[in-house]
C-alpha cells in the first residue's frame, strides 16, 4: 500500500494536486470571503451576506473604474482583432518583402517583458512631448494584445485551404467579398477566441496600465492596487470575485458556446 502510494506516478499526481491547490486556494478564499458578513476577513465566517457587493456598487470610484475597464477592454478587443486579422491575412496569404520581419515585430510585444515595453512607450511619449491620455493607453493595450490575436488567427488561416477563397473568386466574388463571405466565416472561431483573449488581457492588465494611464483615470486593477495601499477592505474581495467571473467564467462559457455552435453546424 505505502509503496504504491509513493511510487513514481502517484507522487507526481499528489505533487500536481498540491501545486494546483496552492495556486487556486487563495482565489477561492477571496471568493468565499467576499460573501462574509463580518468586517474582518477571517475564518470561520460569521455569516453570508452580499453587503460588500452592495458597497461596491455604491462606491463611485469603483463603478467608474469598472466603466473605464470595460470600455478600454472592448475597444482594445475590437481594434486589436481588426488589425490582427488584417495582418494575419497579409502574412499568410500574400508575398511581400519584409514579411518575416513584420511577423516578428507583430509578435515581439509578448516576448518583451511588459515593464520594459511600458517604460519604453512612456519614455517615447515624454520624448515626443505628448501628454498621457486615454487614446495612448488604448494604443498601449492594443500593442500587447494584438500578438495573441495574430497567433490564433494565423494558425487557423494556415490550416484553411486556399481553394475556398479561389473558388469564391472564380465564381465572381471580388477579394473583399470572398473574404467577407467565405474566409471570415471560416476563421470566425479563431477571431472570436482572439477577441476574448484581447479583452481579458486588457481587462486585468496592471503593469502597462500603471505607466500609461492619464492622471485621474483608474481601471479596476489599478483601483484595487490603490485601495490595497490604504487597507484591506472586504470590498476588494467582492471586486476580486467580480473580476474572476468576468475574466474566467465569461470567456470559458463563450468558448463552450462557440464549440457547441460549431458542432451543430458540422452536424
Amino acid at each position: 500500500m505505502v509503496r504504491a502510494l509513493f511510487s513514481g506516478w502517484s507522487l507526481i499526481r499528489v505533487g500536481t494536486i498540491l501545486v494546483y491547490v496552492f495556486m487556486f486556494a487563495p482565489v477561492l478564499v477571496v471568493m468565499l470571503l467576499s460573501f462574509n458578513s463580518s468586517q474582518f476577513g477571517s475564518f470561520p465566517m460569521e455569516g453570508v451576506s452580499f453587503r460588500w457587493f452592495v458597497a461596491l456598487y455604491n462606491n463611485d470610484a469603483i463603478v467608474r473604474a469598472f466603466q473605464t475597464s470595460i470600455a478600454l477592454g472592448l475597444l482594445t478587443a475590437i481594434i486589436a482583432t481588426t488589425l490582427g486579422v488584417t495582418a494575419s491575412m497579409a502574412i499568410v496569404r500574400y508575398e511581400f518583402p519584409g514579411k518575416n520581419l513584420l511577423n516578428t515585430v507583430l509578435i515581439a510585444p509578448i516576448l518583451v517583458p511588459e515593464v520594459v515595453l511600458a517604460v519604453g512607450l512612456l519614455l517615447f511619449l515624454q520624448f515626443m512631448g505628448m501628454p498621457r491620455n486615454f487614446f495612448l493607453l488604448l494604443m498601449g493595450h492594443v500593442i500587447f494584445t494584438m500578438p495573441f490575436v495574430v497567433l490564433v488567427v494565423q494558425a487557423r488561416l494556415v490550416g484553411l485551404r486556399r481553394e475556398y477563397e479561389e473558388a469564391a473568386l472564380s465564381l465572381g466574388a471580388n477579394p473583399l467579398e470572398a473574404f467577407r463571405r467565405v474566409t471570415l466565416p471560416l476563421i470566425m472561431p479563431a477571431v472570436l477566441a482572439g477577441m476574448l483573449f484581447a479583452f481579458t488581457i486588457s481587462f486585468d492588465d496592471i503593469t502597462g496600465t500603471l505607466f500609461w494611464k492619464p492622471p485621474g483615470v483608474e481601471t479596476v486593477p489599478t483601483q484595487i492596487f490603490a485601495m490595497l495601499r490604504h487597507s484591506i477592505s472586504p470590498e476588494v474581495n467582492a471586486l476580486g470575485t467580480v473580476m474572476i467571473v468576468l475574466t474566467v467564467v465569461l470567456p470559458l462559457s463563450g468558448l463552450a458556446l462557440a464549440r457547441r455552435l460549431a458542432v451543430r453546424r458540422g452536424g
Binding site: R161, E163, Y164, E166, A167, A168, L169, S170, L171, G172, A173, N174, P175, E177, A178, R181, V182, P185, L186, R265, G266, G267
Partner: protein
C-alpha cells in the same frame, strides 16, 4: 455559317518561378464546345497552365485569350470561369443550395431565376434533393457533383477541371468519367481537364495535350497520341511501348526495312511528310499490345516473326503482360489470354506487323530536342 471559334487561345505562354521554367512557350487552341485534356506526370506544368488560364497564377510571358479577349491582366473574378478543384472546395459553412447559388449573387439575376437555375444545375448532376444539407453530409462523389453544379450554374465561358476525379475511389471514378462527359456534351461548354491519369485523358478528350517538364510533347486526338506518338516521352507515358534503335536498310515503296541494333530485321511503314533515306538512324516504338505472341511453331507469311522466351508474366485477368526476351532485348507484350496464359520459360513466337512499328521523329521530339539544347546551353554557361 459562323466559323468555329476558339474559347481559349494560348500564344507562346511562359511561366517562370524564379529561375525555374514551369511552362515553356505553350501555344494551344481550345475550340468552342471541345474537351481538351492536359496530361503528364506531376511537375510537367499542366496545373500551372490551368491556373494561369484561371487567373490564379500570373503569366510571365505570352498571351491568353478567352473568347477572343486578352485576359492576361483581368483578375479572376472578372473572367467568368467555372473551376472544379481537386478537393472540391465546397464552402463548408453554406448549404448545398447556397454553395451552388454563390456565383449567382454576382450576376445580375433575380431571386426566381437563381432558384430555377440552381434547381436545373442540381437536376443535371442528378442530386436534386440535397439543397438543405451541408457539404460534410455528402459523400465524396456527391460533393464532386455539387462542385460541378456550382461551376456550371454561372454559365461560364470555359470549364476548368483540376484533377477532379483523383480524390474518388476507382470504381466511382469510372462512373464520374462517363457522367462528366455527358454533362459537358449536354452543355456544349469548352472544357479544360487536367489529369495525370492516361486512361482518363484517352477516354474523355477531343484533344489531348501531352506535357512533360513544361514542354508540350504532342497535341492530338486520343487516337493520334496513342497510335502515333510523336516522341519517346509520349510513347512511353501513354501505355507501354518497346523502344528500339536501328538503321533503315531498305526502302521499298510504302514499307521500310529496318536493321535494329540488336540484330533483328523489322518492317515499318513510311511516315508521311518525312524523308526516310537508306542508312538513316531511327528510333522505333512498338506498343506492347501490338506484339502478338503465338506458340513456338506458328507460321505466318505476312509479318515479321521472331523467336523468344517468356521471362516473366504479369497476369491481369483478361489479359497478361509478358516480358519476352528476344535477340538480347526484353520486349513487353500485352496480349489477351486465350484459355491459359503463356508460362515463364516457354518458347514463343513474336509477330510484329509493319503497320504497328512507329518511327519516332527525332526533330519532332520538339521538347526533347530543345530540352537537350537547353541542357547543353546550361552546361556551357556553367
Amino acid at each position: 455559317m459562323a466559323e468555329r471559334a476558339n474559347s481559349v487561345e494560348l500564344h507562346n505562354v511562359v511561366k517562370r518561378f524564379g529561375d525555374i521554367a514551369a511552362v515553356r512557350q505553350m501555344t494551344l487552341d481550345v475550340p468552342d464546345g471541345s474537351f481538351v485534356t492536359f496530361v503528364g506526370p506531376s511537375g510537367c506544368g499542366k496545373t500551372t497552365t490551368l491556373r494561369m488560364i484561371a487567373g490564379l497564377e500570373s503569366i510571365t510571358d505570352g498571351d491568353i485569350l478567352i473568347k477572343g479577349r486578352r485576359i492576361n491582366e483581368v483578375p479572376i473574378h472578372k473572367r467568368n470561369l467555372g473551376i472544379v478543384f481537386q478537393n472540391y472546395a465546397l464552402f463548408p459553412h453554406k448549404t448545398i443550395y447556397d454553395n451552388v447559388a454563390f456565383g449567382m449573387m454576382y450576376r445580375d439575376v433575380d431571386r426566381e431565376t437563381t432558384r430555377r437555375k440552381v434547381r436545373q444545375a442540381l437536376q443535371l448532376v442528378q442530386l436534386p434533393h440535397v439543397e438543405d444539407r451541408y457539404p460534410k453530409q455528402l459523400s465524396g462523389g456527391q460533393q464532386q457533383r455539387i462542385a460541378l453544379a456550382r461551376a456550371i450554374v454561372i454559365e461560364p465561358d470555359v470549364l476548368l477541371l483540376d484533377e477532379p476525379l483523383s480524390a474518388l475511389d476507382a470504381n466511382l471514378r469510372e462512373g464520374m468519367r462517363v457522367e462528366l462527359k455527358r454533362i459537358q456534351r449536354e452543355l456544349g461548354i469548352a472544357t479544360i481537364f487536367v489529369t495525370h491519369d492516361q486512361s482518363e485523358a484517352l477516354a474523355m478528350s477531343d484533344k489531348v495535350v501531352v506535357m512533360s517538364e513544361g514542354w508540350v510533347e504532342q497535341v492530338g486526338t486520343p487516337e493520334q497520341v496513342y497510335n502515333e506518338p510523336a516522341s519517346e516521352f509520349v510513347a512511353t507515358f501513354l501505355g507501354i511501348s518497346n523502344l528500339l534503335d536501328g538503321r533503315i536498310s531498305e526502302a521499298d515503296g510504302q514499307t521500310l526495312k529496318i536493321a535494329a541494333d540488336n540484330g533483328m530485321d523489322l518492317l515499318a511503314h513510311r511516315q508521311p511528310d518525312r524523308p526516310h533515306g537508306i542508312g538513316q538512324n531511327v528510333r522505333l516504338a512498338i506498343r506492347a499490345e501490338k506484339i502478338f505472341l503465338a506458340d513456338a511453331h506458328a507460321v505466318d507469311n505476312d509479318s515479321i516473326l521472331m523467336d523468344g522466351t517468356v521471362r516473366a508474366v504479369d497476369y491481369q485477368g483478361q489479359a497478361a503482360r509478358y516480358f519476352v526476351e528476344c535477340g538480347g532485348t526484353t520486349f513487353q507484350a500485352v496480349n489477351p489470354i486465350d484459355r491459359s496464359p503463356f508460362q515463364e520459360g516457354q518458347s514463343v513466337r513474336l509477330r510484329i506487323r509493319a503497320q504497328d512499328v512507329v518511327l519516332l521523329d527525332p526533330a519532332r521530339s520538339g521538347a526533347t530536342a530543345s530540352r537537350a539544347q537547353t541542357a547543353a546551353g546550361t552546361e556551357a554557361a556553367a
